[in-house]
C-alpha cells in the first residue's frame, strides 16, 4: 500500500537499530503495565527472553510456534503481493488440517514416505480450495475478498466443529477430537533429526524445515519466476497487467490458491507434527497473527522468518512468564504481543526522523546530486 522514500540512513541503522528501538519501546510500555500490576518488569522481561531461548526445550517451543507463523505469514504475503487481502488464513488452515487428517486416516497403511506427501497434497489442496472459492468469486463476480474470506473463516470453523462431533469424532471419546494418526504419518521431531546437534526434546518438528523451504519457494516464486512476476504486476497495477498480456484473473487465482495452500499446510505442524490428531480450534488465531507477521516481515521471505521468530518467541516467552509470575496472566501476554505489533510493525518509522538528523550524511547527498 505505501511505499517509502529511499532512506539515507546507514544500512545497519535501518535494519538493526530501528527495529531494536521499536521493540524496546513496546517492551518499555509493557514493563510499565507489569510494574503497575506489582511485578518486577526486569525479571519479567528476562523470564521472557530466557523462556524463549534459554534452554533447549524452550527453543523447541519457540520454533514450533514460529513454524505456524511462517505458514500463515506466507499465506498472507502470497495474496498481498497480488494486491489481495486474505483475512481467511484461519479458515484455510482449518480446511488444510482437515485435508491432512483425512489423508492420514485414508491412506494409513501406506509407508510414511508416501503417506506424508499425500497429507501435504491433501492439506494444501483443501486449503487452496478454501481460498480459491473467494478468489473465483472475486474474479467472476467482483465479490470483495475481505468479506468473502472472513465469511469463509466462520463457515470453516462450523464445518470443523461438525466433523469433530460427527463423522471424524474419535470413537467413544467425550472430547472433540479425531482418531490419532498412525505413526508413519507423524513428522519427525527436530530433536530426532538433529540429534547430533544435541537439540533438546520438544514439539518442533520437520514442519519447521518444510516452512523454511516454503519461504525459499516464496522468494524464488515471487522474484525468479514468470508467474511471480505476473502476480506482482497484477497486484501493483492491474491495468499494466492487461497491457502486458497478463490475465488479472489468473493472477488472482494463482495468488489465492498458493495463499490458501500455505495456510492449509499449517496443519502439518499441528496435526502431523504435534497433536497427532485433529482438535477443535487448533488454529488458535495463528491465521490472524499471520497478517502481522507478513506485514512486519515486509512480505519478504527472510523478513517473514524473522517476524515469525519474534512472534514465536513472544508466544513461548510469554507463556514462560505466565508460568512463573502469578500476576502475569495470559491476557497480559496477549497485550504485550499487541504492543509489539503496534510499535515494531505499524509505528516502525517513529524514530526515523530523529535518526535521520543524527545519521544524515551530507557527503552522500552531494554525491547523489
Amino acid at each position: 500500500m505505501s511505499t517509502r522514500a529511499p532512506t539515507d540512513l546507514p544500512r545497519l541503522v535501518d535494519v538493526g537499530l530501528i527495529p531494536a528501538l521499536n521493540l524496546l519501546t513496546a517492551l518499555v510500555i509493557s514493563g510499565l503495565v507489569i510494574w503497575v500490576l506489582g511485578e518486577d518488569p526486569f525479571e519479567a522481561m528476562s523470564l521472557m527472553v530466557s523462556g524463549a531461548f534459554g534452554y533447549g526445550e524452550a527453543i523447541s517451543y519457540t520454533l514450533y510456534y514460529t513454524t505456524n507463523f511462517i505458514f500463515t505469514g506466507l499465506a498472507v504475503s502470497f495474496a498481498y503481493r497480488c494486491g489481495l487481502f486474505n483475512i481467511g488464513g484461519e479458515g484455510q488452515a482449518v480446511l488444510g488440517g482437515i485435508g491432512i487428517l483425512i489423508a492420514a486416516l485414508l491412506f494409513k497403511d501406506l509407508p510414511g514416505l508416501l503417506l506424508i506427501p499425500l497429507c501435504i497434497i491433501f492439506g494444501a489442496a483443501l486449503g487452496a480450495l478454501w481460498a480459491a472459492i473467494p478468489a473465483w468469486l472475486l474474479a467472476k463476480r467482483g465479490s470483495h475478498i475481505v468479506i468473502t474470506t472472513i465469511m469463509f473463516n466462520f463457515i470453516a470453523a462450523a464445518f470443523l466443529s461438525y466433523l469433530l462431533v460427527g463423522p471424524l469424532r474419535r470413537a467413544g471419546a467425550q472430547s472433540t477430537e479425531s482418531e490419532d494418526i498412525v505413526s508413519a504419518a507423524q513428522l519427525m521431531p527436530l530433536h530426532d533429526v538433529f540429534a547430533f546437534l544435541g537439540m533438546a526434546e520438544g514439539p518442533a518438528n520437520m514442519a519447521f524445515v518444510i516452512a523454511l523451504l516454503l519461504c525459499l519457494f516464496y522468494g524464488v516464486f515471487m522474484n525468479r519466476t514468470k508467474w511471480g512476476y505476473e502476480l506482482r504486476v497484477v497486484g501493483q497495477n492491474p491495468a499494466a497487467a492487461r497491457f502486458g498480456g497478463i490475465s488479472a484473473n489468473r493472477g488472482i487465482m494463482i495468488a489465492m490458491i498458493l495463499s490458501g495452500a500455505m495456510a492449509g499446510l499449517m496443519g502439518l505442524n499441528e496435526v502431523l507434527g504435534v497433536q497427532h490428531r485433529l482438535v477443535t480450534n487448533f488454529t488458535s488465531g495463528f491465521g490472524f497473527v499471520g497478517i502481522a507477521v507478513a506485514f512486519m516481515g515486509r512480505h519478504n521471505p527472510i523478513g517473514i522468518i524473522l517476524a515469525a521468530l519474534l512472534f514465536g518467541a513472544l508466544y513461548q516467552g510469554g507463556a514462560e512468564m505466565a508460568f512463573e509470575m502469578p500476576a502475569i496472566t495470559r491476557d497480559l501476554v496477549v497485550m504485550i504481543q499487541g504492543l509489539v505489533i503496534l510499535f515494531a510493525g505499524a509505528l516502525e518509522h517513529m524514530y526515523r526522523p530523529a535518526l535521520n538528523r543524527i545519521f544524515a550524511n551530507p557527503k552522500k547527498i552531494e554525491a547523489a546530486r
Binding site: M1, I147, M151, A158, F288, I291, M296, M335, G338, A346
Partner: protein, 324 residues
C-alpha cells in the same frame, strides 16, 4: 399465517437488537474509510469501550458516565490508530490488528486488577445499565392489526442506544452528503491532494474522522456491555468489528445501505437461532453447525449474486504526503 407473521416480528425485533452495535461500528468504519483511513481496529475499539463502560458503570452506577468512559476510551484508541495511519504513515492494517490484540489482552488484565474477576466486570444492576424502553402506547396499540404488533414487538422495547444507533444512520448520511464537512471528508478519501490544494489540512480532517469513528465505536461498545448485556466479558465483541467492516464494504460506503447490510447480517443470525432444531423442508433435521453457517453463506451468496464489484474510496489506506 399469523404464526409466521409473529415469527417474523420476533426475528425483526431480534435483528434490530443484534444490529445496533454492528450499525454503530459500521458507521465508524464508514467514516474512517471515507476519510482514507482503513480501520480494522473496530473490534478493539468496541471491546475497549465495552470494558471501560462496564467498569465505570460498576464503580459509579451511572450508565451516562459509563457511556462517556466508553466513548473516551474508544476515542483514545482511535487516535492511536490515527497517529499511526495519519502522522506516522504506518501500515494501517497492522495498526488495526495491533489495537485489536492489545485491547483483547489489556481489558481482561485491568478487569482482573480492579475487580479480581479476571476476564470480567461485576454484573450490573439495572440502574447502571441502559435497559429497554417501552415506547408510549406500545401495549395499548398492540391490538391494532398488523401495525400494532409491529410497533409493540419490533419498534418498542429496545434500549436507548439501539434507538440512537438507528437515528445515527440518517444523521450520518446527512453529515456525509449534505454538509461542508461531509464534502471535505469524502474528498479526502478520494483525492487528498485535491483537498490539500484547496488549503484544507488533510491530517486534521482525518483526525476528525477518526475521532468520530472513536465516538461511534465507543457507543457501540457501551451498547454491548451495558445495553445488551449486564457487564463485560472477555472477547465479548466476538468478531463484530470484522462483520461491521464487511457491512461497510457491502453497503459500498453509503450509510443507509450499510445499515441494511447490518440488518441483513443480524437477521440471518436471528434466523439461524430460530432454525436450530427445526426440521427443514426436504432436508429434514440439519446438523446445527450447518445452520450456524447460514448467515455467512447468505452473505457470500448475496454478495456474489447481487452486489458485484465494489470500489473503495480511492485513497483509502494510502497515507498522504505532499511529496509524491
Amino acid at each position: 399465517m399469523s404464526d409466521l407473521f409473529f415469527t417474523l416480528l420476533l426475528l425483526c425485533d431480534s435483528a434490530l437488537r443484534l444490529a445496533a452495535p454492528l450499525v454503530l461500528a459500521a458507521l465508524a468504519g464508514l467514516y474512517a474509510e471515507r476519510s482514507g483511513v482503513v480501520d480494522i481496529g473496530l473490534e478493539g475499539k468496541m471491546l475497549g469501550a465495552a470494558f471501560a463502560a462496564a467498569a465505570t458503570a460498576a464503580v459509579t452506577g451511572s450508565p451516562w458516565l459509563a457511556l462517556l468512559a466508553g466513548i473516551m476510551t474508544s476515542i483514545g484508541l482511535a487516535l492511536v490508530h490515527g497517529f499511526v495511519a495519519i502522522s506516522q504513515r504506518g501500515e494501517q492494517i497492522v495498526s488495526g490488528m495491533a489495537i485489536n490484540i492489545a485491547v483483547a489482552g489489556l481489558a481482561p488484565t485491568l478487569a482482573n486488577a480492579w475487580f479480581h474477576l479476571n476476564g470480567q466486570t461485576p454484573i450490573l444492576e439495572d440502574g447502571a445499565r441502559f435497559t429497554s424502553i417501552n415506547l408510549p402506547f406500545a401495549n395499548a396499540l398492540s391490538d391494532v392489526p398488523v401495525l400494532g404488533p409491529i410497533y409493540a414487538e419490533v419498534i418498542s422495547g429496545h434500549n436507548l442506544l439501539t434507538y440512537l444507533a438507528v437515528a445515527l444512520v440518517p444523521l450520518g448520511a446527512w453529515g456525509l452528503f449534505k454538509t461542508r464537512f461531509g464534502l471535505r471528508l469524502r474528498a479526502v478519501g478520494e483525492n487528498p491532494g485535491a483537498v490539500d490544494a484547496a488549503g484544507i489540512s488533510v491530517h486534521r480532517l482525518r483526525y476528525i474522522a477518526m475521532t468520530i469513528a472513536g465516538i461511534l465505536c465507543g457507543i457501540a461498545g457501551t451498547a454491548l456491555s451495558i445495553g445488551l448485556s449486564a457487564g463485560f466479558v472477555r472477547d465479548m465483541t466476538a468478531g463484530k468489528g470484522y462483520l461491521a467492516l464487511a457491512a461497510v464494504i457491502f453497503g459500498r460506503w453509503y450509510p443507509v445501505p450499510t445499515f441494511l447490510a447490518c440488518l441483513l447480517f443480524a437477521f440471518a443470525d436471528a434466523l439461524q437461532g430460530q432454525l436450530q432444531g427445526t426440521p427443514l423442508p426436504f432436508v429434514g433435521e440439519v446438523p446445527v453447525q450447518f445452520i450456524m453457517m447460514l448467515p455467512y453463506i447468505v452473505t457470500v451468496v448475496v454478495l456474489a449474486g447481487f452486489v458485484g464489484k465494489i470500489d473503495a474510496p480511492k485513497a483509502s489506506g494510502i497515507p498522504f504526503t505532499r511529496d509524491r
